[in-house]
């Protein structure tokens, strides 16, 4: 194994070790650790650590889009990683959630955001079922092109149908309800209390009282409360993901993914579970889209949902490690964060991204943090190869 692979293997084994230790600890200790871990992520946009913070674009905003991306990756991981279905049109679900929210809260009706959110998820789930029912019967590779087509169809529909805003999009999407007095103009009283940010002078942190984050105001100036909202939703989604993966549904997905015919023969109703995977993935996609719509800008238009975004979603899951929820989250964060951190080389962004994708696919196809099962298989294969003294070339 090359040095890079060895390093990643070491990372993966450390991760395994850490998980092992973690599971060995008594319950209250585990809970405390999880809380500290979560608090760190909540505090991240306030701490603004020196190297990670983006200098040319608001760090809070970048964290918001990274979290939204990670949430999408989590959902897509269910479809690709757990159920083994290649979906190249996931942006369609994202758009569906966003537009349902837009239409309900701004364009035709004026529902409050938290009422529109569950309906947006439901509508997107329904879209997933409608999409999945006819297409999940076709073979894996065809599924890719059909889902790609559907993603494009949804984008074209929102571009051309006036009822959905057409090319002008939907603006004035209200933000989630704030806690505390509503902001009135730039200097009115906002929120219940303010939390200052940290700014760094080299390695020395200073408290920066300019433009603190108010708790809890969803306005147009500060992206941090939105980030907190997405983070909270993601934690809930993670819990749901854990529950479902450990249940018989998760086992059915694994069986379907590995060998659909064998699973069918063993009595697993594969079509129904594939449809369920699609629907769950759609629900999370719609959820993320909904949060995106009522984000800081309060404006969505068809330009925000191109085919390229579907490709990025798939790349995030695969790069992170398909089948491992943490891998998917990591991949999502990476794909959303790196281009913003290195804005200086903006011209070369897409080129570097493309080269990185190909390089990763060739040298580490299982992704950066693959599921344990895949790693075990690779270890076994490596051992066999050693014993046989080199692979047989086909």
């Amino acid at each position: 194994m090359s040095a890079g692979n060895r390093a990643l293997e070491a990372l993966a084994t450390t991760w395994d070790d850490a998980k092992g230790r973690y599971q060995a600890m008594p319950r209250p200790a585990r809970l405390a650790l999880v809380v500290v871990f979560a608090l760190f992520f909540y505090a991240l946009p306030l701490l603004r650590p020196p190297i990670i913070t983006t200098t040319q674009i608001d760090f809070g905003g970048v964290l918001f889009s990274a979290a939204a991306f990670a949430l999408v990756a989590l959902g897509l991981n269910i479809v690709i990683g757990y159920a083994g279905l290649l979906d190249l049109g996931y942006v369609g679900f994202y758009a569906c959630g966003a537009y349902t929210t837009g239409v309900l809260t701004s364009y035709h009706w004026h529902w409050p955001f938290f009422l529109a959110l569950p309906l947006a998820i439901a509508v997107t789930m329904l879209t997933g079922v409608i999409l999945g029912a006819p297409t999940l019967r076709v073979r894996g590779d065809y599924l890719a092109i059909v889902t790609l087509g559907f993603g494009e169809i949804i984008r074209l529909i929102v571009t051309n149908v006036q009822w959905l805003g057409a090319a002008s999009g939907i603006k004035d999407i209200p933000h989630p309800n704030s806690i505390g007095p509503n902001p009135e103009g730039p200097f009115g009283q906002r929120g219940i209390f303010s939390i200052p940010h940290l700014s760094w002078n080299g390695l020395v942190p200073l408290i920066d009282n300019n433009r603190p984050t108010t708790f809890l105001t969803f306005g147009a100036l500060d992206a941090v409360p939105y980030y907190w909202l997405v983070l909270t939703v993601m934690i809930l989604a993670l819990l749901g993901d854990r529950l479902i993966k450990a249940s018989r549904v998760g086992r059915a997905w694994e069986a379907t993914r590995e060998d659909e015919d064998a699973a069918e023969l063993m009595g697993v109703p594969t079509f129904r579970y594939k449809l369920l995977a699609f629907a769950m993935g759609a629900a999370i996609g719609g959820l993320s889209g909904s949060l995106f719509a009522s984000g800081q800008g309060g404006y969505i238009n068809p330009q925000s949902f191109p085919l390229l975004l579907s490709m990025l979603f798939v790349a995030a899951v695969i790069v992170g490690g398909s089948g491992n929820r943490w891998g998917a989250i990591f991949g999502g964060v990476l794909v959303a964060y790196l281009p913003e951190r290195f804005r200086a080389i903006n011209d070369y962004r897409l080129l570097l991204f493309g080269m990185a994708l190909t390089a990763l696919a060739i040298w580490r196809p299982e992704g950066l943090i693959p599921p344990r099962r895949v790693r075990r298989v690779k270890q076994v294969e490596a051992e066999i190869e050693e014993l046989e003294g080199g692979a047989v070339d086909a």
Binding site: D141, I145, I153, L350, G354, M355, I362
Partner: protein, 333 residues
């Protein structure tokens, strides 16, 4: 929904649709061949085509200079012939490069198809961006002034200075068929026939079919599968080069993302006709071009892609292996 308009102009819409579809068909041949042999979606084939279009434009600029001129097809044959050769060479070279860098390591490892798709997506982005950054790249080696006619304003539209004016040849109904229409449709048919004969009659073609049918047995029978794969990519590249030349004759301009949309359509056409099936690629391509035009006529041009994809989904539901269905590996007597 304007069916009256459709029926009134059906001949014009059909012939121009066939001309559009012929280009889809030629690009689709590349997708279908690679899929037939490797079961891989060669996502980066769209960039192979795009490089071909630039080769055409560069050759025209090289021989003709940058002054704009409008000429008939007949008087441009010489320069277009040179452009065709250049396009075929460049497209084939890019295709072979792609095979070597993005696919061969994965095929050797027996990696899952999804990973090959990711590699292809990465390669597609990289190739498109290299073309879009060619002014900067030329700048690194200090050649941006010497090559400015070829590389400046890399992200803008790049046009071939010779504008080919189609000549009307003969009327069919109320539409005047032009020489460009005939050239495009004829070329696609000719290429497909040639390729079909190649696959069926020659030794190389048998090798391709063998590897498509069963790679391991083919290897046991002495077929060098690496060579076969290279050949497949090469042929796909040559077809894309032809498509690129025809595209530049019809449309006249290109840019670094010109391949993307066309690639998706061509792949759709390949699946429509039956992926892995050469005739299917032709039928799928021509059908897609005509359906797009009809869809534009009836529903409005903004819906034409929706019509195309809905058609695809319907066909896949009714006939999951595509219209002609057969795979490359199935022997035909």
């Amino acid at each position: 929904m304007d069916f009256g308009f459709l029926f009134h102009n059906i001949i014009e819409l059909t012939i121009t649709g066939l001309a559009l579809g012929a280009i889809y068909a030629l690009v689709a041949l590349g997708y279908t061949m690679v899929y037939g042999v490797l079961q891989l979606i060669n996502f980066a084939h769209s960039e192979v085509f795009m490089y071909g279009t630039f080769a055409v434009a560069w050759v025209v600029v090289f021989f003709h200079g940058t002054t704009s001129a409008t000429q008939s097809l007949g008087s441009s044959l010489g320069i277009l012939g040179a452009a065709l050769v250049a396009a075929m060479v460049l497209s084939a070279a890019i295709a072979l490069l792609l095979e070597r860098v993005a696919y061969r390591p994965l095929i050797k490892k027996g990696a899952p198809k999804l990973i090959a798709l990711i590699s292809a997506i990465g390669a597609s982005f990289s190739l498109a961006e290299i073309m879009g950054l060619r002014d900067k790249i030329a700048g690194w080696v200090g050649l941006q002034d010497d090559l400015s006619a070829y590389v400046s304003k890399a992200r803008d539209l790049y046009s071939s200075p010779i504008d080919v004016q189609p000549q009307n040849l003969f009327p069919v109904g109320n539409y005047q068929v032009t020489d460009v229409d005939l050239l495009v449709i004829g070329a696609a048919l000719a290429m497909m026939v040639a390729l079909d004969q190649f696959v069926r009659r020659t030794r190389f073609g048998r090798g391709i079919r063998a590897v498509a049918q069963d790679p391991e047995s083919a290897a046991l029978m002495g077929v060098n599968s690496t060579r076969v794969v290279q050949l497949t990519f090469l042929i796909g590249g040559l077809m894309a080069g032809v498509a690129a030349t025809l595209y530049m004759i019809r449309i006249g301009s290109t840019r670094q993302n010109a391949g993307f949309i066309l690639g998706v359509k061509a792949f759709t056409a390949a699946v429509l006709g039956g992926i892995g099936n050469l005739r299917g690629a032709l039928i799928g391509g021509l059908l897609l071009g005509v359906v797009e035009n009809y869809g534009s006529a009836v529903f409005g041009s903004q819906w034409k892609d929706v019509v195309a994809f809905v058609l695809l989904v319907l066909i896949l539901l009714v006939r999951p292996s595509g219209l002609l269905g057969e795979a490359l590996g199935k022997a035909r007597a």
